[in-house]
């Protein structure tokens, strides 16, 4: 049995969690007499760093967001088309699936240098990193979702003389849409990871560059500030997909 929390408590819970996190953070620094965490500054320093260099964090953040978004679009378009093909052809699935799983099992950290070597130091290598890592959730979940249509609904469509193309667009695709969006949400977070990984390997710009720079120079304020911005990018992206899901799959119960 679940109890519904009062509205005020429900809204204030995330705020309470954040305050607790900040409190713990400050407490740990206070107790760290030997300055082992010398690179980690206090909350006030991070806020000051973010505020004074806001335009830098915004412009680098937008660059990372664009790389992640373009990679997400390319990766998921390819993944969707392959998933449709696989859902109609078991032989294609048998051929593609083992290699796709092998590629998925290979850490992006190991793939990123190869991608940079192939696509250069600039924008395209980061996009490819984001595309490769965000390719898999949809490809793995979709073929089964397209196939898993109740027999009686197929009977209904066959009795109405529907073609396979109509069955796909009027039945399989809407039925699979909840799972598609769930895969897209996972892919959205992963594409930010991919873009950051590309930036680590070739730090010409973006939040990845700021992170590498901060670590190399011992700039604790920038390190934490860039980490927070990368988290915000992930949340914006995830929120965008969730917003779209609420509008496209309006008929299904929503969940995170």
């Amino acid at each position: 049995m679940t109890h519904k929390l009062p509205n005020i408590l429900r809204l204030s819970l995330p705020l309470i969690a954040m305050m607790s996190l900040i409190g713990t953070w400050e407490l740990v620094l206070l107790l760290d007499k030997d300055r082992r965490l010398y690179l980690i500054p206090g909350v006030a320093t991070v806020i000051k760093e973010l505020w004074s260099n806001l335009s830098l964090y915004v412009s680098e953040g937008i660059q990372t967001l664009i790389e992640a978004f373009v990679g997400f679009l390319i990766g998921n378009t390819a993944s969707f088309l392959l998933a449709v093909w696989m859902s109609y052809s078991k032989s294609v699935e048998r051929i593609v699936y083992p290699y796709a799983i092998a590629l998925k099992a290979t850490p992006i950290v190991a793939l990123a240098p190869l991608i940079v070597a192939c696509f250069g130091q600039e924008f395209s290598s980061k996009v490819v990193c984001a595309a490769v890592i965000s390719f898999f959730p949809l490809m793995i979940q979709c073929p089964e979702a397209f196939r898993r249509v109740p027999e009686e609904l197929l009977d209904l469509f066959h009795s109405l003389g529907a073609s396979e193309k109509q069955i796909f667009f009027h039945l399989r695709l809407p039925l699979a849409s909840s799972q598609i969006f769930s895969a897209l949400k996972t892919a959205s977070s992963l594409s930010v990871v991919g873009a950051l990984m590309g930036e680590f390997m070739s730090p010409t710009g973006g939040i990845g560059k700021l992170l590498i720079q901060a670590l190399a120079n011992g700039w604790g304020g920038q390190l934490i500030a860039a980490t927070i911005v990368s988290g915000i990018i992930g949340v914006i992206f995830f929120g965008l997909i969730h917003f779209l899901q609420a509008r496209v799959v309006y008929w299904a119960p929503q969940s995170f």
Binding site: L153, L156, H158, S159, Q166
Partner: protein, 258 residues
């Protein structure tokens, strides 16, 4: 229990129906792990209301699916008058409502037309069906906002929107309570009397069979054959508490149990 009086012109229209054969099923045989249908023969006249009854799992739904072209028989043939390639001459109402949750009631009813190229959506047809089925105030509702009875009414409207010549119904009211079932039986009879469609209706409820049918076809246990055909000679509207009605129910029951 009384049933609504249908208009005299509608009844006249119904009794003046032609005797041409809308459907002829010849020697239909089907086996899965065991033989289910064993040479079923049945002829249905244009405008006739035929009800199929039989023991549980005797293959009534299998027979209906073969007639609808959803399943291949192992042997035998189904002949349909006015057979159209796109299936528009025949509509099926399934046991479950099977409404698409992302479409409104109106869009669900229009679905068969949207799947056909060049099929015009005439709003007057939809209005007539919604009025007949008392669904006018639900046309913009999604299926999750409909009761079981309303959902099943919508599936009947969806089956009728293409103006089919033959209507196949597979225990469409079995999941409904008595009041809703009676309401839908009345609505179906009203529509049938207006349209003169040929109806093949599967049920396990013998009262429902006698109430609706021109003829009840009783099927045997597996391997299933046509055991007996009982013509229902009562006029309409029928009263389930009349001695003639009860005698016919008893006759069908005896045929089923014999």
């Amino acid at each position: 229990m009384t049933f609504p009086k249908h208009s005299i012109p509608a009844l006249c229209k119904h009794f003046m129906k032609t005797e041409s054969k809308a459907l002829r099923i010849s020697q239909i045989t089907k086996a899965f792990d065991e033989k289910v249908l064993d040479g079923i023969n049945l002829t249905v006249s244009s405008g006739e209301f035929v009800v199929l009854v039989g023991p549980n799992a005797c293959g009534k739904t299998t027979l209906l699916r073969i007639i609808a072209g959803l399943l291949q028989s192992d042997y035998g043939e189904v002949y349909r008058e006015n057979k159209a390639n796109d299936g528009s001459s025949l509509s099926v109402v399934f046991q479950k409502p099977l409404l698409l949750p992302w479409l409104t009631l109106e869009e669900n009813i229009y679905l068969p037309l949207r799947l056909k190229k060049n099929a015009a959506e005439h709003s007057e047809d939809l209005d007539r069906l919604l009025s007949l089925l008392d669904l006018e105030n639900k046309r913009k509702s999604y299926p999750k906002g409909l009761s079981g009875g309303e959902a099943q009414k919508a599936t009947i409207a969806r089956a009728l929107i293409t103006d089919p010549k033959i209507l196949l119904l597979d225990e469409p009211f079995s999941a409904l309570d008595d009041i809703m079932r009676q309401e839908l039986q009345d609505a179906l009879l009203k529509i049938w009397l207006q349209t003169s469609d040929t109806v093949l209706f599967v049920t396990h409820d013998l009262d429902e069979a006698v109430l609706l049918a021109d003829r009840v076809v009783v099927l045997s246990r597996k391997p299933t054959r046509v055991k007996q055909e009982v013509p229902i000679t009562l006029g309409r509207p029928r009263h389930s508490n009349s001695p003639e009605f009860e005698a016919l129910v008893l006759l069908v029951r005896r045929a089923l149990l014999s």
